[in-house]
Symmetry: C2
């Protein structure tokens, strides 16, 4: 993950977003946070529902210092997100780390966790813009080629915004960190088995009208790594 | 996801594990839950810490009706998991669903969310067995080839168990579900862009002693889909 070309702006960590363990994996620059958020499109949102935590997988989009989420106005879990603090985690696993000792097995990964109190987006223009940002984050180039949301769809949609001011980023790369005695013993293989996501060939919908080609914004994703 | 060969045992859903929306995506069989849990190795655990939800990415293993997790005894987040209810989510994204209308974009996925109150595993034999189950879940075949945990490592490790009695499973597959008017208009492509995880060629550790070949349990994962 190269961030050298970006201006360095420190994250402002709070006690709960400060890593107490494996500090060497911590990344304290705002560009590192953006890089993780921009590389994935699925997050896991933790909300408090009836006094207990509930984790919801959902897609998201980022615009500057804001993460947008959306869902149905009837979704109790997303409504619960507006009642208090939430935690939003984005995790990309880049490989499994095989060590000489069981307890040194690990994973190479990029991880961001954002904490904060989300707000409902109510301004009509910002609501539409947020939906476009979420859509373009998961399916770049598609928004302008499809029917935009109508009034009924907009009325049924809840859009929420979460500020990025409180977050932590962790990144692990490279070889296992084995004990010297285990390395010297030389009895087990050690290394990394890289993992990545790939798109496969697009599958047209069974009800697609004849003569509609696969657009470039879909075709060009295939054979590219899905996750940078 | 084929579960037809398995005996059908209904999940026992509670209100919070009963889907109120998109009910057609709900799967109510215990075998469906096992299939999702066994296909992935990363989960997102939601715990309550200082009154607010915190989401932690971590690996896990399953043994029958129990999910095992582990971490450092110094990890406050995992300690917090033992203080109350948790939510554990496992999500596999199988593709992006391109529709003719922005609000009908979707993802094909397999998702499981488990709710419950975890307990610390204290019996020495079960602790070691749980660590083996977690390791073999992420890195099958490796445990017996590496140095097992020593006393110091075991003392520094927290192992927790979560029962699978309260869970929900959602699966989405196939084409977009567009409005008839949008399908008839025929102005946009619609279909699925499949997504999957793949292993790349193993990379030996820089400090690996000469003459140690890549073992079959690592080599054989490469070129196989990582996520079934």
């Amino acid at each position: 993950m190269s961030v050298s070309a970006q201006p360095r702006t420190p994250l402002s960590p709070t006690p709960r977003s400060t890593l107490n363990r494996s500090k060497e994996r911590a990344r304290g620059d705002r560009a590192d946070l953006d890089a993780v958020l921009d590389a994935a499109f699925l997050c896991h949102l933790g909300v408090l529902l009836g006094g207990t935590p509930v984790v919801i997988p959902t897609i998201y989009g980022r615009d500057g210092d804001t993460v947008y989420l959306h869902g149905s106005t009837g979704a109790g879990n997303l409504r619960a997100a507006l009642a208090g603090e939430v935690s939003l985690a984005v995790t990309l696993v880049d490989g499994l780390v095989y060590a000489r000792a069981a307890m040194h097995f690990s994973a190479n990964f990029r991880s961001a966790v954002v904490h904060g109190r989300p707000v409902e987006v109510t301004d009509p223009d910002e609501r539409l813009r947020a939906l476009r940002i979420i859509s373009e984050h998961a399916a770049p180039g598609a928004w302008d080629t499809v029917r935009p949301p109508n009034k009924k769809e907009m009325a049924a949609t809840l859009v929420i915004a979460l500020d990025l001011t409180e977050a932590s980023v962790k990144v692990r790369t490279g070889d296992p960190r084995d004990e010297p005695d285990d390395i010297a013993a030389g009895t087990a293989w050690a290394g990394v088995l890289p993992l990545r996501q790939v798109w496969d060939a697009p599958i047209p919908s069974a009800d697609l009208s004849p003569g509609i080609d696969i657009p470039d914004h879909v075709r060009n994703r295939y054979a590219e790594p899905a996750i940078r």
